[in-house]
Symmetry: D2
Subunit: 309 residues, 4 copies
């Protein structure tokens, strides 16, 4: 029989390399654009990339004809691209974006976004995020978990991630949130995931991170805004429950929706059953939204999202 | 080549007999019960049937432990049942129901409920109901279609069903609703299906038919109550839309929910796309609710439904 | 009270014009392309349209990077297009397609495809197709219903569509299929929908209509190929059943899949329950596939489909 | 600012007590029965419990009328039950089961089933099982993880569970499987969960654990039996993929199905995308099956399952 202790030598980065779904060996640029629609925009952008010897790996675009808006996401291989990486933004802005009133973001595959998780007492979303992170599914760094309770410290320890507790109340909120922001700035956090964080965040905090705080709400929004949505769903007698991930805005549970999913329930289900079924929804919906954010596949406009495939 | 005219001789009742899913050859009794829960209720009811030589074909029960309520549906073969059909109600009431504060309904498979359809200008739900009716899927009679517009008269004619138009407005509503009720009483209508009937019904009308008016609302209730839910869903930027069938109560879109279903949408979908995708949801959800009602499989309590399988 | 007879004057084309989801007032061209992928194809095609003053209303493209294939569907307004309608095919072929080994189809919104329905004894898919047709949902003509049984003649009559019966058996199949093809050629039929047509079609017949016969199979293919899939699903004890619409090829139930959907079942469901639940799946899945075909949104390659949104 | 180290004192069992969905404070008995159907069985069993002062907390039953079989699950509070716990089996067997040819299992809520996990190189199912276990969702003990690879040892270590590696090959399978069984007997393992264990198990091994090995297969069975189902699904061009949890029998991927779920895919999805989408299905479907098994809610008969709600 193989000795058990022997196995513990399995090195960590061997393990990390499993489960990869995206070929990240290539150095690529990602361009996200939105602007007023007009003829020839798509040709213009693809021509900019092609004529400079960029090989397009992914292209998706959307025209909202009712509002006359053009949305585009394009990713190309930088291997033989003529424009130096640090000049692309400047060139694209001067040659194309300014003329066509484009709002754009430019990202590079080498940049790893840095994410902080906020959590309270429930572990299901936290475990799901950290399991994917540990398995190497995502191009992200998670240096920091922040909580208003001590309960999840043990989970953080299992994944070797720093856990900072800020016991926020109404009275100390302004002060502790300032500390949280300072901490996140020190760790160069790019975006925040609220993994069932059960504490209202102030407008000041939210304004610091526009379209960069992802929440999971345990209902099919806009139904059952606010506290205790499973109780409300039970009382109303709905036959389907849901979960919604969205960017946080200053209006409660009203930010741009990224992802939703639902599951069937029946008269046999108690509130506790809804809570149990809801957990599976919540964690998957949140992780899918986080995944889209990490891959720069979300554009927000008019409080709605374009989520590219 | 076979002559086309020849085929038109195919008689109507041959066609009617296809697609049957339930064996309706047996004469059965259906008992629906709800009452305060206590030990032994299930044994009591099944013993009543068994000891009188009734062969139970279907039994489903539910105990709501939070509210302490017992719900049951049982169906049995009357072939060798000792109690005469017209005495069952009396016997069950005296021997069991009164002692245990049971509210109950007794139905017989030979009774065909009579249903009226209310419709406005859209045909998809109407066609779906009539196609099932014509195919013999349901144990129901549909002698009557009522509308506030002339548009669907042609559909009614195709299915040889009487079509009565009442051009209801706010001003004449009291008078025309009285005429509608008189008409339905003349036709012995048991329940009403609102197949996208776009006219608010008065409280007086609703009170005439408690838990006997089935509506289809084109949203995932309680989200998007009221008019133009697809427009509201589009504006909110939801990623899933739904449809809800419910019993009509005097509070708008707030009655007991019978059935819900949903479908995914994306940023690519215009309001018109939502309307199109919604139509498929609406007709199936409404027909499933109607089917459960016809089969006496719905119990309403506290504005929620128990829907037996 | 409004007299019922009065309503029957409602004219047919008034009724036809309801329920439209697509703006078909514009005269548009639709181009479907597939070819080996290389840089600049998208720019090339959009430039061809833009530079000739065509306003693009819809564009979707897909690159299969594993197989190195480019797929595209583009639709544009012909109002100010410089190239005359009857020359577009020629110009596009000469200027672009030949150089880049493109296979392409060109369609115009004014052309109404002509569809024949084949049916046997079950009415649910037939009713669903005809209800959509009658409501004006689709840009299609349905001049012809063909059957191997007389049962559905009554449904055809309700919708004023010719019904031709060919009592096909193994022995007379060659002869009767030849008559069917002759009939369809006389009626200029473009494509065929098998709406639960329970008779194997010969390879000769299929070869006449490559990627132009749409079938609905009542299982989640490739599970339960062949006869009696609901019985097989019941025997296997699956917890979900499905329906699959696909183009018919000479290999049974193995053609390119267009659309699939599923529904949950449980141990409580008998084979008859599966048949009943399956009917709702079948009709919606088939109609969705037909809709995509009518809108020229399907490309077939390597026995798989690209279905544009 | 709160010091991070401080938080690590949060004790483990505090954490364990969150997320509970079932009230496990009560001492209950669970009876699972199947037998030939006849009149009065339900009354007989409920009467046995009621007359001995057992308070029924849950009852679900199913009659398969085609095969004439009766299935039942009943759970009752033992607090005031007249028959001593260790005599219930004997009494029920003598008084009821033998007379009515009942096959039955009796379980008590205090008994914690002991589960072993088999895993190979992929972490997603393993993490999901261990996250639920750690959160206290399940009434189970997991003393043991067994693998044919070293890769998952690190995950086991994070959750403080023993990890034993048996590098099984065709040649050494008989010997190593014997060691595995010996190890599991030493740890009193009741049932086994194959969490993407990619090694065929011998018939001898399977026969040791009838209906006690739960597998997750990464397809919608019976479609795509065997190796590489995502590749096969991609090749076939299906529009929906699935996952299936089932009890392992000696015929590959053909055992009784416990739970299935599916998700939509499109022509845009590569094989890698299918693998990614499939992971989310697999872990949830497997965990739901394990949950039902732990709660004694599954009855197997004729290679199919009755799964109680």
């Amino acid at each position: 029989m193989i000795n058990q202790e022997l196995c513990f030598f399995s090195v960590f980065f061997v393990f990390k390399s499993t489960n990869m779904t995206v070929d990240k060996s290539k150095s690529t640029a990602i361009l996200l654009i939105h602007c007023p629609d007009k003829q020839g925009l798509l040709a213009l952008v693809t021509e900019f990339i092609n004529s400079n010897n960029g090989n397009i790996l992914y292209l998706d675009q959307h025209v909202d004809r009712e509002e006359g808006l053009f949305y585009m996401r394009v990713e190309w291989d930088l291997a033989n691209f003529n424009i130096p990486k640090d000049k692309i933004k400047d060139y694209f802005s001067t040659l194309i974006a300014q003329t066509h009133q484009m709002t754009f973001e430019l990202h590079f595959s080498e940049e790893k976004p840095r994410m902080a998780i906020f959590v309270s007492k429930m572990s299901h979303c936290l475990f799901d995020l950290l399991a994917r992170y540990t398995a190497g599914e995502w191009n992200v760094e998670i240096p920091l978990i922040i909580s208003n309770h001590p309960d999840m410290a043990d989970v953080a320890r299992r994944f070797d991630i720093e856990y900072h507790m800020f016991p926020v109340t109404k009275d100390n909120k302004a002060e502790l949130e300032a500390q949280e922001i300072a901490l996140m700035e020190r760790y160069k956090i790019d975006f925040i995931v609220l993994a069932r964080y059960m504490q209202i965040i102030s407008d000041e905090f939210i304004t610091h991170y526009p379209n960069r705080i992802i929440n999971i709400h345990h209902s099919f929004l806009p139904a059952f805004v606010g506290a205790k949505p499973y109780h409300a769903a039970y009382q109303r007698g709905v036959k389907i429950i849901g979960a919604t991930s969205h960017y946080v805005t200053t209006e409660l549970d009203a930010g741009p929706i990224i992802k939703q999913d639902v599951t069937r329930i029946s008269h046999k289900d108690t509130v506790n059953d809804l809570v149990g079924k809801g957990r599976d929804l919540e964690k998957i919906v949140l992780s899918k939204a986080v995944s889209k954010h990490i891959d720069h596949k979300i554009l927000v406009y008019n409080n709605r999202t374009v989520v590219f495939s």
